[in-house]
């Protein structure tokens, strides 16, 4: 089931505030992985949570310290979409 980038972002936001206990004020679309101090294991755990919630394999491959949450959510949304829909998401 394709999930919109907005819905993925909300899921990421909720996971970071509840499971990772990060202050909600710090979690903005333009906040970077580095600013949030999410290291490789935190990203791995986030990927596991998102994989289970979304029912598709989510990987943190390609995510760097300068990746924003917005960019991360968009990448995850692409992983939830069939190939044609992913291209449509890319075009947005």
């Amino acid at each position: 089931m394709p999930t919109s980038p907005e819905a993925v972002y909300r899921l990421v936001h909720d996971t970071l505030t509840t499971k990772f206990e990060l202050p909600a004020a710090e979690i903005r679309p333009d906040a970077t992985i580095g600013e949030l101090e999410l290291d490789s294991l935190a990203l791995a755990e986030l990927a596991v949570v998102l994989s289970e919630e979304l029912g598709v394999e989510v990987t943190e491959e390609g995510v760097t310290r300068t990746t924003t949450l917005d960019e991360f959510a968009a990448g995850v949304a692409r992983a939830t979409a069939p190939a044609g829909d992913a291209a449509a998401l890319d075009a947005q």
């Binding site: 499971k19 290291d39 490789s40 294991l41 990203l43 791995a44 755990e45 596991v48 943190e60």
Partner: protein, 337 residues
């Protein structure tokens, strides 16, 4: 005739050389707070020059055996055998003076202790042995790449030993359930590439570093938390235990964040997850018996508590086991801790 396998005695042993986070190589550029926040580890023990797995195993085994203890079989679980061939267990049995008893190694990397517990339980159930000595020992320092900061921070050397005997299903200490599994499709995630037949069959010399331990940390983290959570859940379901009924979970002491995530996924309060990662790091197959021994010695494990042990390791392998904690015949305080 009942042929349950019961834990009678337990001991742990770590070498005297303790390496704190502040004593890690300067070139790694790490601080004590950095290491603690990312791994939960404050120190680890190293065997040092000339000390091999059977030496640590011997110390743990001597601690668990009393003078007149008879043993019908010896199992040693390790990823760092003294030699690729033969197994280390017969030499350990000989050094212990146990006579010509069956003795063999069990290889399941960091899940080795749980796999070996199940093997010992099977031997007792089959009537092959009444009393089994199970020793878990690893000297990871012998296969760590000096430039591999991630592994060097985490791994320590150590050994644990349990004496198991035939007993009744309903007595404390009886191993009352197991869940075991493997997924060789991810064998590459935790591996020493050279030293075995796969590499020798190529006829090529090993590339630099191929004899060192390699681990893909993030991927291992993902598999570890899902497999340990899944294994414990399956075990509890088979026993008819709810999570609330688990008094203590002693997981493989790999990384505090793995253990925290497993507890959270199970819905187990953090104070029921006990171990000694901070003091000894990841001691491979030895980690669970070492953690059990220390938790028993300091009172975090008490007779009557429902205890689950859970492991995950290279292979990939995983497993869990359950017992009601017994009033052990003798209590061991781990030397050097």
């Amino acid at each position: 005739m009942t042929r349950s396998c019961v834990v009678e005695a337990l001991a742990g042993w770590v070498p005297p050389l303790r390496v704190t986070n502040d004593q890690l190589p300067e070139s790694w550029g790490v601080t004590d707070s950095w290491v603690r926040s990312r791994t939960g580890i404050g120190s680890r023990h190293r065997a040092g020059h000339g000390v091999a797995t059977s030496d640590l195993a011997l110390a743990a085994a001597e601690s668990v055996l009393r003078g007149n203890d008879s043993v019908d079989a010896l199992l040693l679980t390790t990823s760092t055998p003294d030699h690729p061939l033969p197994a280390t267990a017969p030499s350990l049995a000989a050094r212990l003076g146990l006579g010509p008893i069956p003795a063999f190694d069990v290889s399941a990397v960091c899940s080795g202790f749980v796999y070996a517990l199940a093997t010992a339980a099977g031997w007792v159930a089959a009537g092959l042995a009444e009393r089994v000595l199970l020793v878990a020992a690893d000297v990871y320092s012998t296969m760590l790449d000096p430039t591999d900061r991630a592994a060097g921070i985490v791994f320590g050397d150590g050994a644990g030993a349990v004496l198991l005997r035939r007993g009744e299903d309903d007595e404390p200490g009886a191993l009352i359930g197991f869940d075991l599994g493997s997924d060789g499709g991810h064998a590459d995630l935790i591996m020493v590439p050279a030293g075995g037949a796969r590499h020798r069959a190529t006829g090529r010399s090993p590339a630099d570093g191929d004899h060192y331990f390699r681990m893909h940390g993030s991927e291992v983290f993902k598999h570890a938390i899902t497999r340990m959570d899944g294994s414990v859940s399956t075990l509890l379901e088979s026993l008819g235990w709810s999570v609330d009924e688990v008094d203590r979970l002693v997981g493989h002491q790999a990384n505090a964040r793995i253990l925290k995530a497993v507890c959270e996924r199970l819905g187990l309060p953090a104070d029921r997850c006990v171990g000694n990662l901070a003091e000894v790091g990841n001691t491979g197959a030895a980690s669970i018996p070492l953690a059990l021994a220390q938790a028993h010695a300091d009172g975090r494990l008490r007779p009557g508590q429902r205890v689950v042990v859970a492991a995950f390791g290279g292979g990939l392998t995983w497993g869990s086991a359950a017992l009601v904690w017994p009033d052990l015949s003798h209590t061991q305080v781990i030397p050097h801790l």
